[in-house]
Every structure is written in C-alpha cells, then in structure tokens.
C-alpha cells in the first residue's frame, strides 16, 4: 500500500525545499529546478536540551493545540474599550496602603536599574510619603513601600511604569470577557517620571495630571459612553502607526473622538490646558494601546496546557515572560541591550537596558510585529521599507494566527501576526522583535534613543520546561 504511494514520486516533477547549505540551492537554481531555500537557524539558538524538551512536549501536542486554539480565540475576540479614568487606589486591585507598581517582572530595590529607582523616588515624593530625595530613597531601601509588578495588578506602564495610588489611570474593559486593565497616563517626552526623572517640574506635571487631566478625560470618556480602542488601533495601523513606538495617528484619532465630549464636560480654562498637553504628545495613545493589549492578553491567561505567551515585560534588570498555561510564574533572563538609534549627544554608553511593560503590544501582535504598517520608523533599525515588511512576515513564523481587524495595507491587508507560541519561538530560533524607546541609565535624564530588541531565548525555554512539568504531572 505504502509502495503505491511511493511510486507517485515517479510521476511528479521535483519541487524542493532546501533546508541548510545554500550551495545546494545554487545548484538547483543552475539547473532551473523549482525550489525554495530555507534560511535555517538552529532551534533555541543551538540548545540541544531545548530541542529534547520540544520533543517531550510532542506527547502533549493535542492538549497544547487545543489550549492554544482557545487562547488565540480569546485574544482575537477581545473588545477593549476605555471606560473611565479614576485614581489608581480606587480601581486597581490590591492598591492598598504604601504600594508602588513598576514595570516588568518582580525586582528588589537593590537590583533595580537607575531609571526605575529614580521613578520610585519620584512616586514616593509625589505621594507625600517623604519630603526629600534622601528620605524617599531610605524609605524605598528599608522596605517601607511595597514594590510590585504592574502585571500582578492587571496593570501595565511604559518604561519604569510607575503607578502610584493617587495617579489617575485609564480603566480599559474587555467587553467580550468582562476583564479590566489599568494604565497610567503618558507624560510626554523629555524629563518625565517613566524615564526616572523626579525633579519639581516632573512632580508638578504629575499633580496637574492628577488634578486636571485625569478628571477631564474621565468625564469626557464617561460622557462618550467609552472609547472603542480596537477600532482606533486598527485605523492607526493603516495610517502609519504600529502603536508602540509610533502613536501619532492613534493619538490624533483618540483626541478627535473625545473632543466633542471634552468640550462639553471640561471647564474652559482647563480645556485649553488639556488640549495643549494632548496636542504636544504624539505618544499619548501608547498607554491606551498597552492597556488594550493587556485586557486581550489577560483574557487568554490560565488555560491549562497553553504555550501562548500572555506577557513579556522588562524591569531594566530582567526580561520576563509569562505563558498562559503556567499561571503567574515569570520566566526571566537578563534584560537585553538595545540595538538603537540615539538622539544627538547620546550613545550606547548612556543607555539603560531594555525596560518597560510596553512590549505587551508585541505580545498582542502589534508594535514590532506590525512593523510593516509603520515604514516611517523602520530607520530605527537602520533598514529599508522592505525590512519593515520582513519583520512582520518573520513574526508569522512564531505566531498562531492573525488579527484580521489589524489589516496591514502594505501586506495586502493581511492581519497582524498574533498569539506567540513559545514552542514556535524555541523551535524556529526566531525571537520576538520589539520596538522600544531607550532610557538613559542615569535616573532623570530621559529618553536617549529608540531601536529594536529581541526577547531573550532563555525565557521561552524555561517557560516550556515549566509547562512540560505541569503537563506530565497532570498525566500521572
């Protein structure tokens, strides 16, 4: 029977896939034989143990596949809507007493990088728990303030990601699954808390955001009956944003959507200030983009057996990954150095390591994954527009599906590659690509550049190891 199948080869023209040595493809080209060359990279960067791990996971392939299909379905079904702005202490779960939330996986004060320390000090001063920098530092070092990841509180924050109890946060609701996520407000560029700045000017701006911006936007959003973020992100992707490092279009769309309500709800003198602030900050939508991604990814959490990545986040010391099927466990590796383009006057020696929760956008399939939508910023990676398309195409190798709502014009409206499968990352050796800003390593200086970075392989290998252990235990 199988021989009959074998004989078919005699009637077929050869169509060849060459995996490995390029000269074999050159031979095939020379004789006009149809073929495709695969630029193969060793799985898990050549880690043979990781390949054995993949083989062991094959036993559970059906379970994983089912779980991953469920995870992907939940991600794609998510309908993120901004519904309110409220002080963090009133809405963010577990925000009691002296607590500050930071970006990335857990990290102690001792191991925190410069910008995060600077932001912690700034947040302590902002909350009035100390009056001088020295007092604030002593308080943080003595453990007098709980320091916990945003991700442990359904929240996210860009760069240092500091969220303190009295800061206003956007409340974003997934109207499909009902879960909510929270994010602080973007302060603009320059000397800002998220890059570790904590001068009087920074604290004054935060106070204005607490007293004026937050309440004004909250009232407008409530009056609008919520703002559909998926639709804004979708349109922005067709206007040159990837909604991580470029938010110019999305910010404009958001402000335009909200403006009629803002005009009705805000006092005239405040309206002028709010309009001026929003008009100067091309990145204002970044935080909303992140929270929209966060509610979608949180909906996919806790599916037993799923190898889908539900969070990638960095605290400037470590890069952390969480998988749907491994609970709240973090899989970490040292935070990578960013391949960046620097602002005039700065260079690699000034840069902090990779930092921030903002790669929740890549986790959800936009940002670096949707680079094809944002050719304007491809120069951050020193490349051409063709390279931008290739980043998105490359990410298809490690994702389970497409978010059709996020159709990318340059790819004939193919959707953004969504649902990173840790198995595919390890198997192909292709690491998630992340567009990111670069903070100065000293607190308070601010952003010094932007570029791309790849998530570290070890996080995915360790995640799979834990998943495999859980699956084999549940078999017993």
């Amino acid at each position: 029977m199988s021989s009959t199948l074998l004989y078919r080869l005699l009637d077929q023209e050869l169509k060849i896939i060459n995996i490995g040595v390029p000269s074999f493809s050159e031979t095939l080209t020379a004789v006009n034989a149809p073929h495709i060359h695969v630029h193969w990279a060793p799985p898990a960067g050549g880690n043979v143990e990781a390949v054995e791990l993949l083989d062991r996971l094959e036993v559970h392939a059906e379970t994983i596949q089912r779980a991953n299909a469920e995870a992907l379905a939940r991600i794609l079904a998510a309908r993120p809507v901004a519904v309110d702005v409220q002080p963090a202490r009133d809405v963010v779960p577990g925000m009691d007493g002296r607590i500050l939330l930071h970006a990335g996986p857990p990290v102690t004060w001792e191991r925190m990088c410069g910008p995060v320390r600077g932001a912690v000090i700034g947040a302590i001063l902002f909350e009035g728990w100390a009056t001088t920098h020295a007092e604030a530092e002593a308080l943080a070092a003595s453990g007098g303030v709980r320091l916990e990841p945003n991700h442990h509180h359904s929240a996210v924050g860009p760069m240092a990601g500091l969220t303190s109890p009295s800061m206003p946060v956007f409340v974003v609701e997934n109207q499909e699954a009902g879960n909510r996520a929270y994010v602080n407000m973007n302060e603009g560029l320059g000397k800002v808390l998220r890059f570790g700045a904590n001068s009087a000017e920074v604290l004054e701006r935060l106070a204005w955001m607490r007293d004026v911006l937050g309440p004004a936007l909250g009232a407008a959003i409530r009056a609008a009956g919520g703002v559909d973020l998926k639709s804004i992100t979708a349109r922005a992707l067709q206007m040159g944003d990837e909604c991580h490092n470029r938010n110019t279009a999305a910010t404009s769309l958001f402000v335009r959507t909200l403006f009629p309500y803002l005009v009705k709800t805000a006092a005239p003198e405040q309206l002028a200030e709010v309009a001026d602030f929003l008009g100067r900050n091309d990145h204002f939508y970044l935080n909303l983009s992140m929270a929209a991604c966060k509610v979608a990814m949180d909906a996919a959490r806790g599916i037993e057996g799923s190898s889908v990545v539900v969070a990638m986040a960095r605290n400037g010391t470590e890069f952390g990954v969480q998988l749907s099927g491994t609970g709240d466990q973090w899989f970490t590796a040292p935070s990578p150095v960013i391949d960046a383009l620097f602002f005039p006057g700065y260079g690699p020696e000034d840069a902090a390591r990779d930092l921030g929760d903002s790669c929740i956008t890549e986790t959800a399939g936009i940002g670096g994954f949707a680079m094809a939508a944002a050719p304007a910023i491809v120069q951050f990676v020193g490349g051409s527009v063709g390279d931008a398309l290739n980043f998105t195409k490359e990410m298809r190798n490690i994702t389970l599906g497409e978010e059709r709502t996020y159709g990318i014009p340059a790819l004939d409206f193919a959707g953004a590659p969504t649902g990173i499968d840790a198995r595919l990352v390890v198997d192909t050796g292709i690491l998630p690509v992340i567009n990111t800003g670069v903070a100065h390593k000293e607190p308070g200086v601010g952003q010094v550049g932007a570029g791309i970075v790849r998530a570290p392989m070890d996080c995915f290998v360790e995640g799979l190891r834990a998943l495999e252990e859980r699956l084999s235990q549940s078999d017993r």
């Binding site: 005699l10 060459n18 005039p344 051409s384």
Partner: protein, 523 residues
C-alpha cells in the same frame, strides 16, 4: 573644540531620518557631536545640552532645520557638514536593499510552495532528524545530507517514511539524482536507463560518471546513507529504492552499490534481488569472496569494483574505456622510468582521498596487492591508523572523515588541508607514490584540480632539487559537462606531472604495481 550651527529654514525632514543622519555623520573622524534636528521644543533642549546658545536659533521653528556640529578641527567640521549633506541628499533615493522575504522555516516554505515533494536537510546533525520528521509529516520525501544523526533516530525516521510511502535518503547521503535533478554533490551525467541505489556517496558518483563515459545514462540515482544496510535499519531505503526503480518505466537495469551489508540485511537484499524483474548488478565493495562466488553461482551479476559495476551496467558501451591492463602497465612503466638512477626510492604508497568510498576501494585494491596497508577507515584494528595525521607504511587516508571535517568544510570544498597533507607525504623520504582522487561536479570546489596541480608542480621541483622523485597518481571523477569540465582538469593535472588513470580502481592498481616494480630498484 570647534562649533558651527547651520540654519536651513523651511526644510522639513522627519525626526527618525534626522536621528539616523546625525548618528552616521558623527562617525566622521574628529567629530564629537552632530545634531541635525528640526527646531521643535524638545530639540531646543537637545541643542542647548549640546552647547548651542538658544539665542542662535530663537528665530527657528518646527519647520526649520538646523545642523549643529562640534568637532576637534575646522577641517573635521567641514567634513561632517559634507557628510550631512550627502546623507540629506540621499533621502528618498531607493536603497535597492529591500530584501526579498527570507523563508526561515519548513512551514514558511510550504506556505509558499504547497506542492513541494522533497526536502533536502543539511543542518547540523543534532537538529536534522527533527527537520526531517517535519518534512515527512508534511508528505515530503527527504534527503538528509547531515551526518551525526543518532542511529535510533534514523531507524525511527525510515520506519515513519515507510509507513507513509516516502523515501528517506540518508542521513549522511551526499548525492542523488531524481528525474535528472542533481541533489547535493552530483556530477552532470546523461539521462538514460541505468538506475542506481547506493549507500555510498562517491561510490555512486564514480559509477554514474563511468556509466556516462561508457556512453550510457542514468534514470534515477538514489542515495541511502551509509548505515542503511546495517541490521538495525535493515536496508529500508535500499529496498524502497529497488521497488521504485523496478516500477520506473525509465529504468531498464538496476545497480546497487554499497559496502557489504550486515548479515541479515545481506540475505534480505539478495533475496529481493533474486525476485527482481529487471536485470540487476550488485557491487558490495569488500564483500567476502565466498559471498560473491555464491551469489554469482546463483546467477547474480556481482561486481567487486566500482569500475566493474559500471561495466556490468552498460553491457555494450558506445565508448568503451581503454583496456585496463594496458593502461595500468603503461602508467607504471612511464612512472618507473622517472625515478633517478642510483638513488633508493621511497617504498610506500600514500593515498589522500576526498571521497570515502574511493578511499575504501583503493584500500581494498592495494590490500590485495601489498602487505600491511593502513587506513583511518580500516575495520581491522591492526591496520587502523591510530592517528589519522600520521602515516605508517602504505597508508590511505579518507580526509572527508569526521575527524577532519568537524571544524572545517569537506575536502571537496576546502582543498587546503589535503594540500598540506599531500606536501607532508611527498616530502617524506619513505614515500614512493602519492595517490589521490579529484572529484568534480556540483557541490565540489570550483577548481579542485587547479590547486592540486600547482602544489604538485612546486613539489616536483623541490623534490628534483633534492635529487628525489615521487610519482603523483590520480583519477578524476567527473564528466565533460560538469561545471569544472573534465578535460580541463585532467590537462592541468597532467601538465603538472600527475599521471591520470581513467578510474579510481586503476589509479590504485597503478600505484600498487609501481611500488612493487620499484622494490627491484636497488641503491
């Protein structure tokens, strides 16, 4: 430090382009800062930080470009400005670097070519089985070029393939020709009616080339990998290959080439061959004489050399090879006459091979003629070279062995370390003959004979200056249609003083007979 601020009102570039230009222009020697910016609020701060007085650009706005330069000398400032202008002018000119999409996975390739039916896998061995299994699961036949694949993985892959009606050629399969398409290291041979199934790469190449030289051609040449005929694998691929060729209307005659199979597999194979509906030639290089005699008496066509396999495959050649005895005798006579009178020549043959099977055939040939021939591929511990880098007595080295190729390309690609070894052996006073192979074809070095010819010419001159002579004897596995035309390669080698025989077997024989002849030449 020199500073200069150039203002270009009403000139707009986007900020990312300007960041790139600033950082590239900063590479100009002697330049410490370059700030090419639109005068936005944020960039005012950057300019101020870089040391430019805000008053200088107070009249400029977000649609105005300024170029702030800081450098050690006035010259460097000028150079930086020239560079900035070059980069500004280049904006919008197509880089032409937009790369075609890089396909990085088998799945990605299948998405683009869903009708693909064969995968060639040449990844490092530790990962090859995994890729091959993926290919099988997607319904593709597989050729695994990689070596160092665990035997149990080979067994599992071939059993899986058998279930699915697919072929796994390899692991360690260097060559195959399917429907005339060259896969791996392959010579360009005429298409014809001879079907080959071979467990050895250069063995297949030598037989295919000789079939071509005899005026016939190849229908299909299927490689199985060196371990297919072990009892663990049981000849799965060779048996599938036989099935396939028996059903192939384009194949009239089937030739099998291999080292002697393991006992149980040998029986299975010979049993299968006896049931074959097409004429078959079997060449188990190094098989027991008894086995060969038995098979012959049962009516099978058994060949003991690659040359014989080709000759039995092409019964009535359009272009016969020269007479073997005469060709070898002439070569020996010519070479014997070249050794200087009155000086005792070296006593040993030293063979340096790029083809494993060619080395093996030479070893079998010389073993039958000379006492104590050593090799790194000898099975018998007594003749196995302890250190493949050191020859002892008559020595044949397979330089394509793992020992040599772990950290560098195969000698068919990288000639350098075989050349070094040829030099070392030629300069050894114990050496009488240096024997080697030259393998042409796709995959091989673009001029394999050229480098050797140059080295041989140098060595002959150096030896002559020292009053010594060493014969260089070789065969060339290749055709006129190869990317390196055979006649050109042969001409260059002959010009350098290499004696070329028409087959590997004959070259080995000539080397053996020559040292026998030299024995009688006293000091």
């Amino acid at each position: 430090m020199q500073r200069r601020l150039i203002k270009r009102p009403n000139t707009y570039y986007d900020s990312v382009t300007l960041m790139r230009i600033s950082s590239e222009a900063k590479r100009v020697p002697g330049v410490s800062q370059v700030a090419v910016v639109m005068v936005t609020e944020m960039n005012r701060a950057i300019l101020a930080d870089t040391g430019f007085d805000p008053a200088e650009y107070a009249d400029m706005g977000p649609n105005d470009l300024v170029i702030g330069l800081v450098a050690e000398t006035e010259e460097a400032l000028g150079a930086a400005l020239i560079r900035v202008d070059e980069l500004l002018n280049a904006v919008g000119q197509e880089s032409g670097q937009a790369q075609e999409e890089r396909v990085q996975t088998l799945e990605g390739a299948l998405a683009r070519m869903p009708e693909a039916n064969l995968a060639i896998v040449s990844t490092p061995g530790a990962f090859a089985a995994r890729e091959a299994l993926k290919a099988l699961k997607n319904g593709l036949h597989v050729m695994i070029f990689s070596d160092n694949v665990a035997l149990e993985k080979e067994v599992a892959l071939k059993q899986e393939a058998q279930r699915r009606g697919l072929l796994v050629m390899g692991p360690d399969c260097g060559t195959a020709i399917i429907h005339g398409v060259p896969l791996g290291f392959v010579n360009v041979v005429r298409r014809g009616t001879a079907g080959l199934v071979a467990a050895s790469g250069t063995g297949l190449q030598e037989v295919a080339v000789l079939v071509h030289q005899l005026g016939a051609g190849i229908s299909q040449a299927i490689g199985t990998g060196g371990r297919d005929l072990s009892d663990e694998v049981g000849g799965i691929t060779m048996l599938q290959g036989i099935d396939l060729l028996e059903h192939d209307p384009g194949t009239e005659r089937i030739t099998l080439v291999s080292k002697p199979p393991a006992p149980a597999t040998m029986q299975r194979l010979l049993e299968r061959v006896r049931r074959m509906t097409k004429p078959c030639v079997v060449c188990f290089l190094g098989a027991d004489e008894e086995v060969v005699a038995q098979a012959r008496s049962a009516g099978l066509k058994m060949a003991t050399t690659l040359e014989e396999a080709a000759l039995l495959t092409v019964e009535s050649p359009a272009t016969p090879l020269p007479d073997a005895t005469a060709e070898v005798a002439a070569a020996v006579a010519t070479e014997a006459a070249r050794y200087p009178q009155g000086k005792r020549p070296g006593a040993f043959v030293r063979g340096l091979f790029s083809g494993g099977t060619l080395c093996h055939e030479a070893y079998l040939t010389l073993q039958a003629m000379l006492p104590d021939v050593s090799s790194n591929l000898a099975q018998n511990a007594r003749y196995k070279l302890e250190n493949p880098n050191e020859s002892r007595g008559h020595t044949l080295v397979d330089m394509g062995d793992d020992y040599f190729t772990q950290s560098r390309p195969h000698p068919m690609i990288d000639a350098s370390y075989r050349l070094e070894r040829i030099r070392k052996e030629a300069m050894d006073p114990e050496t009488a003959v240096v024997l080697f192979d030259v393998v042409l074809g796709y995959g091989s070095n673009s001029d394999p004979g050229g480098a050797i010819a140059e080295e041989v010419a140098r060595l002959r001159a150096e030896l002559a200056a020292a009053g010594r002579y060493v014969a260089f004897i070789a065969s060339v596995t290749g055709t006129e249609e190869d990317p390196q035309p055979r006649s050109e390669q042969v001409a260059r080698l002959r010009e350098a003083g290499v004696t070329i025989l028409s087959t590997n077997y004959r070259a080995a024989r000539a080397a053996g007979l020559l040292v026998e002849t030299l024995k009688g030449v006293g000091a």
